[in-house]
C-alpha cells in the first residue's frame, strides 16, 4: 500500500462532516485553514485542496500553491473555483454530483408548498399563541398549478418528477430544447409569464448572473411565486425586493442569497417570503455521501487511478492531454 501520510492536504471546506475529516486526517497530513487566511507554508506545500461551493478556490490562493495537483469540491456547484487558472495548470477539479440531487429536489418542493401555503408564517403564528385569538388567512393551492423550471438539469428533472406527483403541469427553459416530454419555452420571460411558480434550478455561471431580473419578475406577475434553490447570484435581489414591496409578485421562497450569510434585512419582516440558510443538501445522509466522494477522489488521484467525479471541464482537459 502506498504511503499517503506524507502528502500535504489543505482543507478550507466548511461543509465536511467531522467523521470524514477525521478519516482524511488519519490518511494524509491534513491542515485546516480559513479560506481568507491560509498560511504560506501550508499553501506552498499542499498537493490537494479540499473546498466547497461556498468557499471556492480563488486564483490568488491557487497562485500561492505551486505544488497543487488536485482540487476536490465538496459540492455540486463550483462557480467560485477559478477554473481557468486550475485547468490552465492541468489541475483537475472534482465535485459531488448526483448524491445531493434528491435532497435539493425535496427542499425545492417543500419550499414551494411552504411558500404558497404560508406554512412558515403559520408555524410562527401558532408559536406566538395567536391561534387562540385570530383566524389564519386562507392561502394558495399548489397541486394542479403550472411549474416553470429554469434549468432542466439533473436537479431540475428531479424537481419535475416530484411535481408530477402533485399533478402539476411542467414547463421549462434551458439553453436549448432538451430530450424531455415537458413543454420547452425558448425564453425566460415567456416561461415566467406562463407559470404560477418559477423554480430557479440552473447552474450558476457568469452568464446566469441576475438572469431573474425585474422584467422576469414582472412577467411572473402578482399571483406568481419565485423559488430559488440554485445560487443567489442568479436573482437580482434588489429587483426581487422591489417586486415584493410593490406586489408585482405574490411571494418568494429562497434558500440562497447574493451575499450569504447576509440576507437583506428588508426581507426579515416580510410574511410573503420563506428564508432558508442555504440548506438544500444539508442532511446527515447527503453530507456523508458527499464527504465520501471527496475521499474517493483523493484516494483515486494519489493511487494513480481515474477520478470518480471530475467536473465535465476536467474530463475534457484530461482527454485532451
Amino acid at each position: 500500500m502506498t504511503t499517503t501520510k506524507d502528502i500535504d492536504v489543505l482543507t478550507i471546506c466548511q461543509l465536511l462532516r467531522p467523521a470524514e475529516e477525521r478519516w482524511i486526517a488519519s490518511r494524509y497530513r491534513l491542515t485546516r485553514a480559513d479560506k481568507d487566511a491560509v498560511p504560506d507554508e501550508i499553501a506552498s506545500k499542499a498537493r490537494a485542496l479540499i473546498t466547497s461551493g461556498l468557499d471556492g478556490a480563488p486564483g490568488a490562493l491557487l497562485d500561492r500553491m505551486p505544488n497543487l495537483e488536485i482540487i476536490t469540491v465538496n459540492s455540486v456547484g463550483y462557480d467560485l473555483v477559478d477554473l481557468k487558472k486550475a485547468l490552465g495548470r492541468h489541475i483537475p477539479v472534482t465535485h459531488t454530483p448526483d448524491v445531493l440531487t434528491d435532497d435539493v429536489a425535496d427542499l425545492a418542493i417543500g419550499l414551494m408548498i411552504m411558500t404558497s401555503r404560508r406554512l412558515g408564517v403559520a408555524d410562527r403564528f401558532v408559536r406566538a399563541g395567536r391561534w387562540t385569538r385570530e383566524k389564519f388567512p386562507v392561502a394558495g393551492k399548489v397541486s394542479g398549478k403550472k411549474l416553470g423550471i429554469l434549468g432542466l438539469g439533473r436537479i431540475g428533472r428531479a424537481i419535475a418528477t416530484r411535481a408530477e406527483g402533485f399533478g402539476m403541469e411542467i414547463l421549462y427553459t434551458d439553453r436549448a430544447k432538451l430530450n424531455s416530454n415537458y413543454r420547452f419555452l425558448p425564453d425566460l420571460i415567456s416561461l415566467a409569464r406562463e407559470s404560477d411558480f418559477l423554480m430557479v434550478a440552473t447552474s450558476a455561471g457568469p452568464d446566469a448572473r441576475h438572469m431573474v431580473n425585474a422584467a422576469v419578475l414582472e412577467a411572473l406577475g402578482p399571483e406568481g411565486i419565485l423559488i430559488n434553490i440554485a445560487r443567489g447570484s442568479v436573482v437580482d435581489e434588489n429587483a426581487l425586493i422591489a417586486a415584493l414591496e410593490d406586489g408585482r409578485i405574490a411571494s418568494a421562497g429562497l434558500d440562497v442569497f447574493e451575499h450569504e450569510p447576509n440576507v437583506p434585512p428588508l426581507l426579515f419582516r416580510r410574511d410573503d417570503v420563506v428564508l432558508l440558510p442555504h440548506i438544500a443538501s444539508s442532511t446527515r445522509e447527503t453530507r456523508g455521501e458527499m464527504g465520501r466522494l471527496v475521499i474517493r477522489n483523493l484516494e483515486a488521484w494519489f493511487s494513480g487511478k481515474p477520478l470518480v467525479t471530475p467536473t465535465p471541464e476536467t474530463l475534457a482537459m484530461l482527454a485532451n492531454r
Binding site: 401555503r117 410562527r124 401558532v126 386562507v138 392561502a139 406527483g165 399533478g167 432558508l276
Partner: protein, 319 residues
C-alpha cells in the same frame, strides 16, 4: 314573487361564496352553539355549516329540510338527529384531497429538513452569528407508513412515490388495486417505517390510536405527521416522547384541544405546528363552498343531491 328561502349560516365561507349565497337566499348568521330566535328558527329551511351543527341547534329548527356542510368531516354535525328526522346532510368529499395531501408531504419534508426552524434561524440573524444550521435528515428514498389508505391516503402515497419513498399502510382492511404493503398492526407499521402520516378518518375507536407504544416504535429517528384529527394521537405521550428524544420529530396540523396547543410543543425546534390548515386555500375553499351551494340548489329544485353523507342517505331510503 315567492319569499326567498331562509338559510341559517353557521360557518365562515370565502367572500365569493358568501355573495352567491346571499344572492339566492335570505341568510341569517349564527354560531353552532347559539340559541336561535324562535320566529326566525321557524322559517329556516336549510343550514350551511362548516363541519359543525350539533343536534341542539337542529332541534331548534322545525322546518329544517337540509344541512349542507362545506367540509369533508361531519363528526360535529348531529347526523343521528338529522337521520331520525329524514333530513339529508351533504359534505364536500374529494374537493380538498389535493390540498390535504400537499400539506401532509410539506409537513413531512419540513419536519425532516427543519425548514420552519431554518426560516426562524435566518430571521433571528443566527446564520450570521452562529454559522451553519445543524444537519437535518433526508426524506427521499425513505420508508413511509400511512395510517388510513382512503382517497387522501392514496394521494399522499402517489406524491411520496414521486420522491422514491417506499410506502406501506394500515387500514381497517387491505385496499384492492394498490401495490403498497398492508401492515395490519399499527405498532408494527411504526416500527417498520421512518415516517408515519396519520390521515385515518376519526371515528370514536380512533381516539388515541397513536399511543405511546406506537410513538416509541417509530423511534428516535422517526417523524410523525398528523393531518387527521388531534384526538387520534395521545398528545401527552407525544410531547413526552419528543422531549425525551424517544421520537425524532413531528409535523402537526391538528391538536387535541384546538386552538390550544401544548406550550411544550411551541418551544421545540424539532416540530412543525400549523393551525389546522388542511384545506385552507382560496381555490379549495371556493370549490367546497360551491359544492355546498350546488347541493342546496339541487335540493330546492327537487333534483338528486350531489354529495349526501351515507348515514342520512340510508335513513331516508329506509323511510
Amino acid at each position: 314573487m315567492l319569499d326567498p328561502i331562509e338559510v341559517l349560516q353557521v360557518a365562515q365561507v370565502v367572500p365569493g361564496i358568501e355573495a352567491k349565497l346571499k344572492a339566492t337566499y335570505r341568510v341569517h348568521r349564527a354560531n353552532p352553539g347559539d340559541t336561535i330566535p324562535p320566529d326566525m328558527a321557524g322559517r329556516v329551511r336549510a343550514v350551511v355549516a362548516g363541519g359543525a351543527a350539533p343536534a341542539g341547534l337542529l332541534a331548534q329548527l322545525p322546518k329544517l329540510e337540509i344541512i349542507a356542510s362545506a367540509s369533508v368531516g361531519y363528526d360535529g354535525i348531529g347526523v343521528a338527529e338529522a337521520a331520525a328526522r329524514g333530513i339529508p346532510v351533504t359534505n364536500t368529499p374529494n374537493v380538498l384531497n389535493d390540498d390535504v395531501a400537499d400539506l401532509a408531504i410539506a409537513l413531512m419534508v419540513m419536519a425532516a429538513r427543519r425548514l420552519a426552524a431554518g426560516d426562524r434561524y435566518v430571521r433571528a440573524g443566527k446564520w450570521v452569528s452562529d454559522g451553519h444550521m445543524p444537519l437535518a435528515r433526508t426524506a427521499s428514498n425513505k420508508k413511509l407508513g400511512i395510517v388510513g389508505l382512503g382517497r387522501i391516503g392514496r394521494d399522499i402515497a402517489r406524491r411520496a412515490e414521486a420522491m422514491n419513498m417506499t410506502v406501506s399502510y394500515t387500514n381497517r382492511r387491505p385496499v384492492e388495486g394498490v401495490s403498497y404493503r398492508f401492515v395490519p398492526n399499527l405498532t408494527q407499521l411504526a416500527r417498520d417505517n421512518d415516517f408515519i402520516i396519520v390521515i385515518a378518518s376519526a371515528g370514536p375507536d380512533a381516539t388515541k390510536m397513536i399511543s405511546r407504544d406506537v410513538i416509541e416504535a417509530l423511534g428516535p429517528d422517526g417523524i410523525l405527521v398528523n393531518i387527521s384529527r388531534g384526538r387520534v394521537v395521545d398528545e401527552a405521550a407525544l410531547v413526552e416522547a419528543l422531549k425525551t428524544g424517544k421520537l425524532g420529530g413531528a409535523g402537526l396540523d391538528v391538536f387535541e384541544d384546538e386552538p390550544n396547543v401544548p406550550a411544550a410543543l411551541m418551544a421545540m425546534e424539532n416540530v412543525v405546528l400549523t393551525p389546522h390548515l388542511g384545506s385552507s386555500t382560496i381555490e379549495t375553499r371556493t370549490a367546497m363552498g360551491q359544492l355546498a351551494l350546488d347541493n342546496l340548489a339541487a335540493w330546492f329544485a327537487g333534483k338528486p343531491l350531489i354529495t349526501e353523507v351515507p348515514e342520512t342517505q340510508t335513513a331516508r331510503v329506509a323511510k
